[in-house]
Symmetry: C2
Subunit: 459 residues, 2 copies
Amino acid sequence: MSIGRQFFSWLLFFFPVLVQAQPADSLQIRKIVNEILVNGQAYQNLRDICRIGPRLSGSPQAEKAIELTRRMLQQAGADKVWLQPCLVTHWERGAGETAYLVDSAGTKFTLRISTLGNSMGTDGKDVCGELLYINRFDQVDAMGEKMLRDKIVFFDLPMNPTHIRTFQAYGESGIARRNGPSLAAKYGARAVLVRSLASNVDAYPHTGATRYNDSFPKIPAMALSTQDAEWIAENMAKGKKFTACLRNRAVMKGEVLSYNVIGEIKGSVYPEEIISIGGHLDSWDLGEGAHDDGAGCVQSIEALRALHNLGIRPKRTIRAVMFMNEENGGGGARAYLDSAIAKGEKHVFAIESDAGGFSPRGFSFDLGDQAYGQVKKWAPLFAEYGIHEWERGGSGADIGPLKKIGTALCGLRPDSQRYFDVHHAETDVFSAVSKRELDLGAAAMTALIWLVSEYGLTL
Amino acid sequence: MSIGRQFFSWLLFFFPVLVQAQPADSLQIRKIVNEILVNGQAYQNLRDICRIGPRLSGSPQAEKAIELTRRMLQQAGADKVWLQPCLVTHWERGAGETAYLVDSAGTKFTLRISTLGNSMGTDGKDVCGELLYINRFDQVDAMGEKMLRDKIVFFDLPMNPTHIRTFQAYGESGIARRNGPSLAAKYGARAVLVRSLASNVDAYPHTGATRYNDSFPKIPAMALSTQDAEWIAENMAKGKKFTACLRNRAVMKGEVLSYNVIGEIKGSVYPEEIISIGGHLDSWDLGEGAHDDGAGCVQSIEALRALHNLGIRPKRTIRAVMFMNEENGGGGARAYLDSAIAKGEKHVFAIESDAGGFSPRGFSFDLGDQAYGQVKKWAPLFAEYGIHEWERGGSGADIGPLKKIGTALCGLRPDSQRYFDVHHAETDVFSAVSKRELDLGAAAMTALIWLVSEYGLTL
């Protein structure tokens, strides 16, 4: 540490202009980080949100979470808090979902499943068929109707463990969950089982949205726990055959009115320039939506709280946004963009935390070359907090639409190793979140938006 | 990614000598990492070690773990596996430890405590006294006998949350656990309660070794859960007074024979140059010693397994060492050094993993300037695995003694945010470990020792 400081003093001596802003910025960031580590409310807030239960769009729990986070934003010291109306997808899993296999000897094996989000239901009746095992998505077209007709298709695409960033594996293997049901339906399959998108092997199925292609029949689809998936794969590799039956009462109820929850601190110098920091308030209907994405919500609220508590009045307007309906429709994201356009708002920067409340490792930027050059210069300020990865890439599903109006976008990149152990599963609960990891993520985002607020960005 | 590769090709063109080794090393490291992420046995091995239960030195569980890891090293493909005798501290907590407070109204409050390791017992009798609250260690001498005589001293030194690396806070606040009992005894205190060294606030006490100064009476000492510590602090700040009573049957049984477990792959070119990779096999007698330090043991075994399974014959000898008695005596570390000296072995490098099985963030090096210059050049090879922190600093308690014979030392630096939530507590169990995080730590260490094995170090 002392060597670093000596070197720094030397730099100050020879290059006074070049590094002028650094020491003050560094001190201010340290204040922000300390405030969050010492007085942070994100963890308590997350506990309270999780106590509501899962918050699927259109559910009573989602409505409770809207009211709760509205109050949290007021308590955090926002100048103004409001609810922004949006139309959201209302889908319900229904009671009594089950699936089982029957082997050639008539033995029955109950499976640990979770109906995929937005999936059709079976009206509580068994939909049965011979189980067809597929572990390469690119082979489906070649197999065609001859092999898929009247089958229950089981897509077994494990996440590739060699990708260091688990999101890459999620994106690749996710094709089966997203597109598998409609592709199977194209060739006459009756229903689909998909291996859960999980990086571990356990008994918990992981749900998530599927996307039907309107050109083909909409067939029911369920996620299967990774343990069950491996058991089936092993047995079918030995030549065993199964009949599979699925039953549920899932129903798509259409669109209903809900809200994004927004709180802002008005900018002191450029109040018309808006910086958004957000996560999404809705979650899947399993677990508590702690990492996905209660974490992003409470981190965003924490950013306002920390600035307010420190008496930092940002030059630009900072808005914390709890988006609704990220998981299965994107209604909140659309409403936020539409409102920005309708009001002619100037959105200079938006950052989203929707990758879990884990130790922050860096940021992913989706913005122009000049703006990237600006933010990249701030990287050294973050190294002492273990934040080293400044890269270009995607931001978040909720802020993504703002790209249409030229907003510079950014995604918080937490350590991704544990995310897909709990993502969209019963295991995504408050106790899976570490207070320090959550706080450090909030601190990283708060420091970054404070810098943007101070210096602006050339868009 | 493509920009990086273009830049790299450009470098190759202009500086063929400078970067010559990079592409081949990078590919070899990728092979090692993939082998561990795809075929890794560390997680299963950790599960099996944890099933034995906690492994305090001299306990039957420690003996079972010796035999189990001996077999694991054989199965991993070590050329040779042996047990290295060492004398270890044998301390037992005994049954029925309790502590409680009584307020002035006679109301009794049971405390969640754990006797500190190596602490004296009370022979099953209550040791009682007025509770004295101390939250600044540097005030004890000024308070002196006048205030401490016949008291039960409660040291309430929370870990400083503003240190990003939690080990720094552990080191600072740890003075109370290490030196508090003897300092309090110096001034006539009857017993000591120490706030658990934990970065979270919960109901679990965290034990750990205390060190008696032979100049003063040895008084009993217990760790108190952070929840209880905060409750007491709040109540005493309001002026409440308590009598505290402690009771246990802890007993120091002296030294007994135990073993380090060692497996090695002989070097193909410089077999006399030894590289050690290790963790410690003993643990505290709470929980399962999963992060501390089952993780380091299975990562070290995994290094041998991965090299063996890939058919990589290292140029230098690589030894995986499960040290015994790190927690409360260091007997294994001494025996390893003594044996090295007695046999005139040449130990060129040693790395230890004893900071939990979390996502690796970097390495801490304790070696000469020239050797540090060499290893620092390898840093770019690790960036794609999220490993960015190459710094000088301590290594590990077990390999530390090798410094006397000039060995270059290194400690794996995992993400430290969650470590002190579970460290030395009932919560340090297998289920608190993430397979991917554990594997990535093993991969980082294996890649590093492979590089040292290939290129050597100038000592």
